[in-house]
Amino acid sequence: MIDRTPPGQLAALWLIGRRAAVESMQDRLTLLMSMFFAVVLPIGLTALAVRPRIADSGASGDVLAFYLLIVGLAPAVSAVGIAAGQFAGEKERGLLTPLLASPASNFAIFGGKVLGSIIPPLLYAAVAEAVYALSIATLLGPERLLLLPPILSVGMLLLVPAVTLFGAVTSSLISSRVRTFNAAQQVGGLVLMPVWGALLGVVIKLRDWGPAPLLGAVALLVVLDVCLTIVAAATWRREEVLSHS
C-alpha cells in the first residue's frame, strides 16, 4: 500500500495553477508571441509612437502613462486565450478528464486553471512594463520617467491585473460550458469586447476627464473580479464539463 496524504484545497489549487502556467509557457508559439508583446512591442512603441509625440507636443506624462497601459495590456489579453485553452481546449483534446478524475475539489481545479491562465500574462506584462521603462530611459532619457503622473500610472498598472483576471475568469466560465476551443474564443470575445471598449474609451478620454474615471473603472473592475471569481468558483462543476463533452 502506498502512503498518501491528499493535498489540501489551496495546495491542490497551487499545484494545478503552477503546472498550467508552466505548460502554457513551454508552448513555443505562445512563448514567441508573448516575447514579441513583452519585448519588441514596448521598444517599438517607444521609438515609433511615444518619441515623435513627445517631440511634437513637448513633455507629456499622459502620453507616457497611456502607453504604459497599452504595453501592459497587450500581453495580458492573452489570458483569455490561455483560459479558453485550459478548459475548452483541454476538453477537446481529452486532457481534462484525468484531472477531473483526481481527488482535487471543483474549487481547486477551477481556481488552479484560472491561476494558471493569469500567471504567464502577468509575468509577460511585468517584463513589458520593465522593457518600456528601460526603452524610455534609453531612447528619451531617464529624466522622462519622472514625468509619469504617479496616480495615473498606478491606476494604469492596477488595470492590467484587473483586466487580466476579468478576462481569464470570464473566459474560464464560458469555455467550461462550450464544446470547442473556437467556440470559447468566439463567445469570450463577444462578451469581453464591450467591456474592453468601454475601458479604452475611459483611457482615451483621460486628458479631458482626469484620472478619477480611470480609478473608478479600476475599482469597479476589481469589485467585478472579486464577485465573478467567487461566483464562478462556487458554481463551477466538473459534472458540467463532462456533460458538455
Binding site: M1, I2, D3, R4, T5, P6, P7, A12, L15, I16, R19, E23, Q26, D27, R93, G94, L95, L96, T97, P98, L99, L100, A101, S102, P103, A104, S105, R238, E239, L242, S243
Partner: protein
C-alpha cells in the same frame, strides 16, 4: 469492491444509462462491452466519482459514490479512452504532478515513478517531451498514471487501443497481474477476444441498458449450446453426410468436397460415433475441429435481441 444498483444517468432529457447494476469482487475483472454510445463511459464515470448518478446507488472501494465522490476518486485509478497527456511535459514530470495530486509522499512517489517507468520500459524516454511519443508510449504513460497511487479499484477504458501486438500483450499481462494482486478491474473494450481472455464476467450494454451479463462461458452457453463440428477427410467420400445423418444427436450434416460439417448438442457422444461410422465406411479422417459460440456471437446476438421491438 464495486457494488452498483439501479444506476441511472440523464443528460437533460437523454437517458445515457438506465438501471445498471453490477458487482466486481477483489481480484475479478468485469468487461463492459457495447457499441459506441452504449453508456460504458458514463457508467465508469459514475463509478469513478466523476458523474453523480441521477438515480441508484453504488459503493466503490468502500465509499459511497453519491456521498463521498472525492474519496472514491482518491481510491480508484482511471485510464481514460484517450491518453490525455500534456505534450509539452515529459513523462516523469507528468507522473510526478499526478502523484502530488493523489498525495503520494515525495520519496514514495519517486520510487513508484521509477518502478512504473521500468515496468513500461519508458526509462530511456522519461525526460523527453511527450509530444514525441508514439500512441503506444502514450497509452503506457496513461496506464502508469492510473496505477501511480496504488488503487485497489481500476477502470480501464480501451487500454490496448492503438498498441502494437507485443505492447498490447504486455498490457494484458499487466492487467492479469492486477487481478492476481486482488485488485478489482473494470475494462471497457471493443476487443471481444481481449474481453474473453481477461474477463471473469462480461456485461453488454445497449442504449444505456444491460442486455446481457454473466461469465463469458455462461454467456456462450446461453447463446448457443450447440457445437459446430468440422471433419476433414483424406479423400472424397460420397454420401458421408447421409451416413452420419442417421446418428443420434447429429444436426444438419453438410458435405463440401472433403469437408463434412454438422452441429450437435452432445459432442461427447456424437463425435466418436460419427468417426466410427466414417472409418467403417472406408473414410480416412484427417482432423476433427469443434467450435462453440464465441463471445462475438454472444455480443451480436445480445445486440440483435435487444434491437427487436
Amino acid at each position: 469492491m464495486i457494488e452498483a444498483h439501479g444506476l441511472r444517468r440523464l443528460f437533460g432529457q437523454h437517458v445515457a444509462v438506465e438501471d445498471v447494476s453490477l458487482t466486481v469482487a477483489p481480484g475479478a475483472l468485469l468487461a463492459l462491452l457495447g457499441p459506441n454510445g452504449a453508456g460504458k463511459t458514463t457508467t465508469v464515470r459514475m463509478l469513478a466519482g466523476l458523474l453523480r448518478p441521477s438515480a441508484g446507488h453504488a459503493t466503490v472501494a468502500g465509499c459511497d459514490v453519491l456521498a463521498e465522490p472525492a474519496a472514491v476518486r482518491a481510491r480508484v485509478g482511471l485510464m481514460t479512452d484517450s491518453p490525455g497527456l500534456h505534450d509539452q511535459m515529459n513523462a516523469r514530470a507528468y507522473l510526478d504532478f499526478f502523484g502530488q495530486m493523489y498525495g503520494v509522499e515525495s520519496r514514495a512517489r519517486r520510487q513508484r515513478i521509477d518502478q512504473l517507468l521500468e515496468l513500461f520500459d519508458l526509462q530511456r524516454v522519461a525526460s523527453r517531451r511527450m509530444a514525441t511519443f508514439s500512441k503506444g508510449m502514450q497509452q503506457k504513460v496513461a496506464l502508469a498514471r492510473a496505477l501511480l497511487h496504488g488503487p485497489r479499484v481500476i477502470f480501464l477504458d480501451e487500454p490496448t487501443s492503438g498498441l502494437d501486438p507485443l505492447a498490447a500483450r504486455s498490457v494484458r499481462e499487466l492487467i492479469v497481474g492486477l487481478k492476481n494482486d486482488s485488485r478489482a478491474v473494470v475494462l471497457c473494450t471493443h476487443d471481444l477476444d481481449e474481453a474473453e481472455r481477461l474477463a471473469d464476467s462480461v456485461t453488454i450494454l445497449r442504449h444505456g441498458r444491460i442486455v446481457a451479463s454473466d461469465s463469458p462461458s455462461a454467456l456462450r452457453a446461453h447463446a448457443s449450446r450447440e457445437t459446430l463440428v468440422q471433419v476433414t477427410l483424406a479423400g472424397d467420400v460420397a454420401d458421408a453426410d447421409r451416413l452420419v445423418a442417421r446418428i443420434e444427436g447429429v444436426v444438419e450434416p453438410k458435405l463440401h468436397g472433403k469437408q463434412l460439417s454438422y452441429r450437435t448438442l452432445y459432442p461427447d457422444q456424437a463425435n466418436p460415433s460419427v468417426i466410427a461410422h466414417l472409418v467403417g465406411a472406408g473414410a480416412q479422417v484427417v482432423s476433427v475441429t469443434c467450435t462453440t459460440a464465441t463471445l462475438e456471437d454472444v455480443y451480436a446476438s445480445a445486440l440483435e435481441v435487444a434491437a427487436l421491438p
